[in-house]
């Protein structure tokens, strides 16, 4: 059997990669250690969150699956940051850990050109530094033109609890024991990372009476631009908020040296994420805090586990019991799965090109946690991009690269390959300089065009998108043309806004903070749906700020157009500071814009670089 693309790993990156390739008409094989574990959510039972929710919308706009699949599997959903401004709004959903993977598997199985095989990959065959196939642990060779590695946390995975360490993937799955070493042999720099997960508690052993209930929104949301809501707003499942207390903190402090990370194990190499500290980290680093917030989150309608968000730990089981029982309402809690820390291998991401192909091996792509990221959404968007780019490569076409001002996906990939990582990378709104442009509401306006161009968004969906776009333009025009006069002052008075002396366009009125777009629709000739009106409103109210961001982005574009020759020899530039030289050689930036973002490369080095380029 011979394939065009083999995707190694069936997590969120692997699913998107495999679907993208197959949907683009390339014969694709997805190799996974366990078919029942496809699109598994080994950690929190949620999709989206700040910044991440916007990524899900971007994936959807490009024709990926995560948003659609999440819409089918919701337990509850809400829009975050509604009061903090349009740029930082983001959807967050609790997703059912049984339904989500099941729906994804169904989609994979019903996709043409896509086979799924249960196996572990031992090595990628790369004669002449170009992919020719994969070698399975069972000894079989499968030929292929391109490979996308989406191995998640499975490469040389070690589960750590207290003073024990054993080689195992999440959920007791088989780890990948050979692939990482074989990649190292090909010259890849491997980085050891660490993460962890909290305990799961039996729902009926928890007394929720003292916990604060957290419900989903009372308006409908969907991740996908094409979906109608598929859930009942009144049947959303609540989460609960509780706090740790002195007792919990004392137990942790008294047993600190038993935690794998605080002395239980002496051979910790992995670097844990700054943004996901374990509960012992929090107690140690924020010793003056009297309590820490914990969320009780339902994992599924089909089983009883409650995910104890905020309580990730690598304490031994007996200490975990004590810790959990010290929590309010959890005095009699039954732990169904204990918390653990996991160490795994990733490849250092500066070894990648912008299309997520490795610099060392042609047609070898990597996506997801193997690239040092964390989170389902970060993984999925890389999978999608790697999938699209693997196909473009096979088709002999230009790579698909998103800029930092186009998508969070662009920010993420640029950060990875330009700056590298210190700890597992999580997307945050603060990482995006142009976040006012990268909103949840305009992900389709930013990216649908690409999705259609690459054949992942159907003509029908594209038509409806074009229609929406046209309506937005029409609506903005109408708002600018229609004017209110002092005759309308009676109505304006009811809105509590300043009265008019002259005629003013609806668009200008909309700029006033106290005026909502719905207040003005009655003066329009045409009817527009709420998505269209939202665009009009954002464009009117935030025009100044948006234009400022656009100007900044324009500067960036200019710098990104200044290409650095691929064969440039940094050793010949004697005037470069040595740190800059080393970083430039490592990253090999494609453009002056990218070079400027490398830490340790300062403006003087950039001057020297540009002068040298002119000489060549």
């Amino acid at each position: 059997m011979e394939y065009e693309v083999i995707v190694v790993g069936g997590g969120h990156a692997g699913c998107e990669a495999a679907l993208a390739c197959a949907r683009k008409g390339h014969k694709t094989l997805l190799v996974t250690g366990n078919i029942n574990n496809i699109a598994d959510m080994p950690c929190n039972p949620s999709i989206g969150g700040s910044a991440k929710g916007i990524v899900v919308r971007e994936i959807d706009a490009l024709g990926g699956e995560m948003g659609n699949n999440a819409d089918k599997s919701l337990l509850q959903i809400k829009m975050l940051n509604t009061a903090k401004g349009p740029a930082v709004r983001s959807l967050r959903a609790q997703a059912d850990k049984i339904t989500y993977p099941k729906n994804m598997l169904k989609t994979l199985e019903s996709t043409d050109n896509l086979d799924i095989q249960e196996a572990l990959v031992k090595d990628v065959l790369t004669p002449d530094n170009k992919v020719s196939g994969v070698l399975l642990e069972a000894g079989e060779v499968i030929k292929t033109k391109a490979v996308i590695l989406t191995t998640g946390t499975y490469m040389n995975a070690d589960i750590m609890v207290g003073d024990t360490r054993h080689r195992e993937g999440p959920h007791g799955e088989k780890p990948s024991n050979y692939l990482s070493d074989n990649l190292a042999k090909k010259g890849f720099i491997i980085k050891r990372l660490k993460t962890g997960t909290p305990p799961r508690i039996a729902k009926d052993s928890i007394d929720f009476s003292e916990a604060k209930r957290e419900d989903g929104d009372s308006v409908y949301h969907t991740f996908s631009f094409d979906n109608e809501p598929m859930y009942d707003i009144d049947k959303q499942v609540p989460c609960y908020l509780i706090y740790t207390n002195n007792e919990t903190h004392k137990i942790i402090r008294d047993n600190l040296n038993k935690s794998s990370m605080y002395g239980g194990l002496s051979d910790i190499k992995g670097v844990g994420p700054r943004y996901c500290p374990s509960i012992e980290d929090k107690i140690v680093r924020f010793s003056d805090k009297e309590r820490h917030q914990l969320f009780l989150e339902p994992e599924s309608l089909y089983y009883d586990d409650i995910y104890l968000q905020g309580f990730s730990t690598s304490m031994p089981y007996d200490v975990q019991e004590k810790m959990v029982h010290s929590l309010p309402g959890l005095e009699k809690a039954k732990i169904l799965k204990y918390a653990y820390a996991i160490e795994y291998d990733a490849i250092y991401p500066t070894q990648l090109k912008f299309n997520l192909e490795t610099k060392l091996i042609e047609n070898l792509f990597t996506a997801g946690q193997i690239n040092g990221t964390s989170g389902y959404e970060e993984a999925a968007c890389q999978g999608l991009m790697a999938g699209i780019n693997a196909c473009l490569k096979l088709e002999g076409k230009e790579p698909f690269i998103l800029r930092r001002d186009e998508a969070y996906i662009g920010v993420l990939i640029d950060d990875l390959i330009t700056k590298g990582i210190r700890d597992p990378y999580r997307l945050l709104t603060s990482r995006a300089e142009y976040r006012l442009l990268l909103r949840t509401d305009n992900a389709d306006l930013r990216l649908r065009e690409y999705g259609h161009k690459f054949g992942l968004v159907s003509d029908e969906k594209y038509e409806s998108f074009l229609n929406k776009k046209e309506n937005i333009e029409k609506a903005i025009l109408e708002f600018k043309e229609k004017r209110l006069t002092p005759k309308n002052n009676d109505y304006l008075e009811t809105l509590g806004t300043k009265l008019l002396k002259d005629g003013v366009s609806l668009y200008d009125l909309l700029r006033r903070p106290e005026i909502k777009v719905e207040d003005l629709t009655k003066f329009l000739d045409n009817e527009y749906d709420s998505e269209v009106l939202e665009q009009v409103s954002i464009s009117a109210k935030y025009e100044g700020y948006i234009n400022k961001s656009l100007r900044e982005a324009e500067k960036l574009k200019h710098l990104e157009n200044k290409k650095i020759p691929e064969d440039i020899d940094y050793d010949e530039m004697h005037n470069l500071a040595s740190e800059a030289k080393q970083k430039l050689k490592e990253v090999r930036p494609l453009t002056i814009g990218q070079a400027m973002r490398i830490s340790g490369v300062n403006p003087a080095d950039i001057s020297i670089l540009t002068m040298y380029m002119k000489r060549g």
Binding site: L80, V88, P273, R274, H292, L428, I608, M611
Partner: protein, 449 residues
């Protein structure tokens, strides 16, 4: 290469005129914003135009402006050269106006660099410049730091840290909205922090005075009662070619009338009229005028007579000098000593007549401002204008934040301007955005799964 750069092309303070050169796409447009001659914008290439440099309605200087349109120029870009009167204050002010209106301060060697990049000069020439750029960048960085002074630099650094705290707080509210325990950064808190920021920037502008003094010159007054030798001292200080005098009344903000160079020190003498034009009426400047001048000056040269006891008038002036930077110049050491000098401090004994010990005056002034350790080069002068321009931009952004708050913009918009301020402050002390903010975020707030 797409921005428009400006710099002072002539050596500072020496020479009857100074030239400020502007190069880049917007050179003509930017200069036209501050130039009174309205025909300038459409003027043909390689022509010279007369008019005033304006700061709003205020005339800064009477100038001749040369317009040279691309490509037949040194950099092959549009170039404008402003020929101004040579006073430090005026020249600096013009540069500041250019920077404020959209020019970027040229890096050392940047005009030459552009000339090379645009194919105007060849590589051998350019490589010479390259070394210069390299060596000068390090110096300029050092000077930028020296210039604002260790103390000011650490003040800016502190301000920036405080701001980072606010920004990190906003970010954590955005990225971890479910954390109810984390304090919400509110508009009120931002507002009170802004006021503090503003007043601290004012303070910094004052604190950086010392650096500015070094680079822009020291406002100096010569005072003393009649007949102590102010006039001859001035003439001795001015010498034949040591000083230049500009006399453009009403066109400068300050009443600087002569610029005097002693070693690397620039003294901007204020109101010398009373002293210089006094061949008949000997030193018409007297005690009343002296008292007034003392208020205006950064440093006062208080002249007394070696050959006389201190008079009541001397003591009145001395009392006024208590809280000022001043040097007592005991003149006429060529005569017999009669002065009771135990009441004096910061004393230099000179004889203007015999040109004796005049140089010591410069040394004393340097000590007074603790300037001895700071090297003066043309670079410090530029960075000073740069820092001032940036701080002005900071105040603009502060206003933008205020406006955003007033108009009820949500916090994610307001934060854009806050980040601007943070970045600008970083520019002054040579630090830029990296992972800094994220480190702040995760070291100050406890969040995670």
């Amino acid at each position: 290469m797409d921005d428009t750069i400006a710099a002072i092309s002539t050596a500072q303070g020496v020479g009857a005129i100074s030239i400020i050169r502007v190069s880049g796409t917007d050179a003509i447009k930017i200069v036209s914003k501050i130039f009174s001659n309205k025909k300038f914008l459409g003027a043909p290439s390689h022509t010279i135009h007369y008019g005033y440099i304006m700061d709003g309605d205020e005339r800064i200087d009477e100038v001749l402006v040369t317009i040279m349109r691309a490509p037949k120029t040194f950099t092959k870009e549009d170039i404008v050269e402003i020929n101004a009167h040579g006073g430090i204050m005026t020249t600096d002010k013009i540069l500041e106006l250019l920077l404020f209106n959209g020019c970027r301060l040229a890096e050392p060697g940047e005009f030459t660099k552009r000339a090379f990049l645009n194919g105007r000069i060849d590589l051998t020439e350019a490589e010479g410049v390259m070394d210069l750029i390299n060596s000068k960048t390090d110096i300029s960085r050092k000077i930028a730091l020296n210039q604002v002074g260790g103390k000011v630099s650490s003040m800016i650094s502190d301000l920036r840290d405080e701001l980072a705290g606010i920004i990190a707080n906003i970010e954590v509210n955005i990225d971890y909205p479910e954390y109810e325990d984390i304090e919400e950064m509110t508009i009120e808190k931002i507002n009170s922090n802004l006021s503090e920021l503003e007043s601290k920037i004012d303070k910094i502008l004052k604190e950086s005075k010392n650096g500015e003094i070094l680079t822009n010159g020291i406002k100096t007054a010569i005072v003393g009662k009649p007949n102590v030798g102010k006039s001859s001292l001035l003439n001795r200080l001015i010498g034949e070619d040591k000083a230049i005098v500009t006399d453009i009344q009403g066109t400068t903000r300050d009443s600087v009338e002569a610029t005097l160079r002693i070693d690397n020190l620039i003294l901007n003498l204020i109101d010398t009229a009373g002293i210089r034009k006094t061949e008949d009426v000997v030193e018409s400047i007297g005690v009343d005028k002296s008292l007034k001048l003392i208020d205006e000056a950064d440093v006062i040269l208080f002249v007394v007579n070696y050959n006389e006891k201190l008079s009541h008038d001397d003591l009145v002036i001395l009392d006024k000098l208590k809280d000022k930077n001043y040097i007592t110049i005991v003149n006429k050491t060529d005569l017999d000593k009669k002065i009771d000098d135990d009441k004096l401090s910061n004393v230099v004994y000179v004889s203007a007549l015999n040109d004796d010990n005049i140089d010591e005056i410069g040394n004393k002034i340097k000590k007074l401002f603790d300037l001895e350790k700071i090297e003066t080069t043309d670079l410090t002068y530029l960075t000073s204008a740069r820092s001032v321009a940036i701080l002005r931009k900071v105040l603009d952004s502060v206003k933008a934040v205020r406006k955003g708050i007033e108009e009820n913009y949500p916090i994610d918009m307001v934060e854009i301007d806050l980040k601007d301020i943070w970045n600008l402050l970083g520019e002054i002390i040579g630090e830029s955005y990296d992972e800094e903010l994220l480190d702040q975020l995760f070291s100050r707030f406890c969040v995670g799964k």
